[in-house]
């Protein structure tokens, strides 16, 4: 009935190097160090001595504790993240997020690309906000090269960026529910995403990795057909969002699991460097669009939304509120959209003067920024990106001790990390 499983020699207890040496020396096989399940609790220990004090703390097991390895292949770690969870029963004692499973060396790739082709490499970083990924380098390179994009290009940029924020926050609602066992909101979230992505592909030509921004403008102009489709979309955009809200916001189970869960106070969030909706949910009114205005945001009317709770539920509410705010911003942008060119005159190969530039934008996950150094050549000498979800994940080991395994997923989903951005 059962087929014999072939085990590699290195793993087989009777065929290891040690067993072979023992047999050669005529010794008895090494005695087992306990019962059949000995060592079960420490499966997952790294196969090297601890490198730091923190690592020693996480991987030293107390009485009744065991290591619990979540990921990189796990249904709800948002891609290929690995959490080593130290648990006592179901209670989390400590968490060690292990990153790097999706590292593609995007910064280095960008340093080998020309200033124009950098835009193609930053797209797959935070793949749920590709437009924001392009926005920050575009601003930074324009600062380096000393040009300004035309007014209409800036408006189109703001438009696509806010569209991107709508579907990113819409998906976050779905992921939040999915990680807590609710199956339906993610489907509604993807319906919403599909509609937005269709719009964005109408203007940029691609559905996910848009490659839309250029140094000194955008790739295509928005034509009348696009605006007509935008109007149709605008009329029905809140349908799926409101369906999700009906399932989640007042759901007794959802509230019971999220209110008071993973509370991050304002000072703590600032100390950890958490930005974006997660920071504003803790009551800190910091929004890059207001604090360090860029693009056309000074010309638009909007308030910085904050929540008071700082818990998972507040972070969820914050996303929903910002989603609606984005739709409000889209209305304003379309109203004020000027006519004119969408691309400034730039040469085919851009060679900025030696210098440095920094640009930050408000991505759906927080402050996303780019620091570029030019040495006068055709590609950036150094290109560095700060990804907000990488920083937000730092809060996990602080929030989880004393909570249950099930809450790990709820809290992680509330920070809405995207592994493509974390691992770059």
């Amino acid at each position: 009935m059962t087929s014999e499983v072939r085990i590699p020699d290195s793993l087989h207890p009777e065929r290891t190097e040690e067993a072979r040496l023992r047999a050669a020396a005529g010794l008895a096989p090494a005695p087992a160090t306990g019962g059949e399940y000995a060592g079960f609790e420490s499966v997952g220990l790294p196969d090297r001595p601890p490198q730091t004090e923190r690592e020693r703390e996480v991987y030293t097991l107390g009485e009744g504790e065991m290591l619990f390895n979540m990921g990189p292949q796990h249904p709800s770690t948002h891609g290929v993240m690995r959490l080593v969870v130290k648990v006592r029963g179901e209670v989390v004692v400590d968490i060690d997020p292990v990153l790097g499973y999706l590292h593609r060396g995007i910064e280095k790739l960008c340093e080998n690309a020309t200033y124009t082709t950098v835009m193609t490499y930053v797209d797959p970083m935070d793949y749920l906000s590709a437009m924001h990924n392009e926005h920050a380098p575009a601003i930074a390179f324009e600062k380096l090269y000393g040009i300004k994009a035309p007014k209409r290009a800036e408006y189109i940029r703001a438009l696509v960026v806010e569209l991107n924020r709508v579907f990113s926050h819409g998906l976050m609602m779905g992921f939040q529910a999915l990680d807590m066992g609710g199956l339906t909101p993610i489907l509604y979230g993807f319906i919403n995403r599909d509609e937005v992505v269709e719009l964005l592909s109408a203007i940029s030509g691609q559905r996910m990795l848009f490659n839309f921004f250029r140094v000194g403008g955008v790739n295509f102009d928005a034509n009348d057909e696009f605006f007509s489709r935008l109007g149709t979309w605008r009329a029905g955009v809140l349908k799926t969002i409101e369906m999700n809200e009906r399932i989640m916001t007042d759901n007794e189970i959802f509230r019971g699991r999220t209110i008071g869960m993973g509370v991050l106070s304002g000072p703590e969030a600032i100390a950890l460097g958490v930005t974006g909706p997660s920071l504003r949910a803790s009551g800190v009114p910091f929004d890059v669009r207001k604090a360090h205005p860029y693009s056309i945001y000074p010309e638009l009317e909007f308030d910085v939304i904050t929540q008071t709770g700082g818990d998972v539920y507040s972070r969820y509410l914050q996303r929903v509120a910002e989603l609606k705010q984005s739709i409000h911003l889209i209305d304003q942008i379309v109203d004020k959209m000027p006519h004119g060119p969408v691309q400034a005159q730039v040469p085919g190969i851009i060679r900025p003067k030696p210098g440095r530039a920094y640009a930050a934008v408000e991505s759906p996950r927080g402050l996303y920024s780019v620091y570029a150094i030019s040495d006068g050549g055709p590609n950036p000498y150094r290109f560095r990106m700060r990804d907000p979800s990488f920083v937000s994940l730092q809060a996990m080991p602080k929030l989880m001790p004393g909570r249950l395994i099930a809450d790990t997923m709820a809290v992680m989903a509330s920070f809405d990390p995207v592994m493509g951005g974390v691992d770059k």
Partner: protein, 336 residues
């Protein structure tokens, strides 16, 4: 040899074979319902390639299990790992023995059917626990222990809520409880609180959303079933969906008049036609509650493990006690 004994043995073999065979189409129908109904609720098509309206999707799923590799982890406890799916499956299959399908169509119409049912359905927890322990996997272990805690806790309010029905109906025999409802109206009218407790506890007992702590795919991957593949996993899978149908059927029998039509003209018929008439109503009502369970799955997130236990011990158990005492008091007072 005694002809009666031979007939009895033959009847027993026929009934058990039929019931064992019946588990397979029951599971197929319930799984198909889950696939299609959830798809409609989530604004997608669901399976639509195999057969008309994707009708045979779940059948193909079932046969797929047979073709898959039967893998066993290296360090698993071989005996118990092999036994666990059978324990869970047999618990579900054996409890079908006392289901009152229709007048004249009960495999074992014996006088302690209700006790038998709750004893047998509770056995599946042993299989889950064993599966979790034998797999040598931490997800499985946690899932198995969760299932033990959950099912043991919820069995108490579940059984207590049924005691109210038994006190009113005056019998531990499913047939007699249904016949009592023929005279007095559905048990739901007499035991609304009991029904509420029974429904919540039965969802927890068969690990359905929002109480699917045991599988909890976003936390424990697949709970005790993580390391199972092939037909061994298939048995767990079948058992789960068969249990969903059985629990709905038992709830219909205890609270919704079983095979009785919802109106008194005629609530039941005599002879073979009556059996068919009863089967129709029984299946209609049972699948209605299967549908509700699927609906809940599409709607609700999962409760947390401590909230789950808190609800069993702090809410359902006292409520079930009060309900039982009140029912007994009324029965004694009115001499029903």
């Amino acid at each position: 040899m005694d002809l009666d004994l031979l007939l009895g043995v033959g009847r027993f073999l026929l009934a058990t074979t039929l019931l064992l065979l019946l588990t397979v189409p029951t599971a197929f129908v319930v799984i198909q319902m889950e696939l299609k109904v959830i798809a409609q609720m989530q604004l997608r098509y669901g399976p639509n390639r195999i057969g008309p309206w994707g009708m045979f999707q779940s059948t193909i799923h079932g046969f797929k299990f047979l073709a898959k590799e039967d893998h066993m982890p290296d360090q698993a406890d071989r005996t118990t790992f092999t036994l666990a799916p059978w324990m869970v499956y047999m618990a579900a299959a054996m409890s079908m023995l006392v289901i009152p399908w229709a007048p004249g169509a009960i495999a074992a119409d014996f006088n302690i059917g209700i006790v038998y049912f709750f004893a047998i359905i509770g056995l599946s927890v042993v299989g889950m626990l064993v599966a979790g322990w034998a797999s040598y996997n931490k997800y499985s272990l946690l899932g198995g222990l969760r299932s033990a805690a959950q099912m043991v806790s919820y069995e108490i309010p579940l059984t207590l809520s049924v005691v109210g029905v038994v006190v009113l109906g005056g019998s531990l025999n499913f047939r007699e409880v249904i016949e009592w409802q023929l005279d007095h109206g559905w048990m739901l009218l007499w035991q609304p609180v009991g029904w509420g407790i029974f429904y919540i506890a039965s969802l927890a007992e068969i690990n359905r959303t929002p109480f699917d702590m045991v599988e909890a795919d976003s936390e424990l991957v697949a709970g005790p079933f993580t390391e199972y593949s092939g037909m061994r996993f298939g048995f767990f899978f079948f058992a789960e969906y068969v249990a969903l149908f059985i629990m709905s059927g038992i709830m219909v029998a205890l609270f919704f008049g079983g095979w009785l039509a919802p109106w008194p003209f005629p609530a039941q018929l005599e002879g073979f036609g009556g059996t068919l008439y009863g089967l129709f109503w029984f299946f209609l009502k049972s699948y209605l509650f299967v549908f509700v369970a699927v609906w809940l799955r599409a709607t609700l997130p999962r409760v947390r493990v401590d909230q789950l236990m808190g609800m069993a011990w702090k809410v359902l158990l006292p409520l079930a006690m009060l309900n039982l005492i009140a029912t007994a008091g009324v029965v004694v007072w009115l001499k029903l």
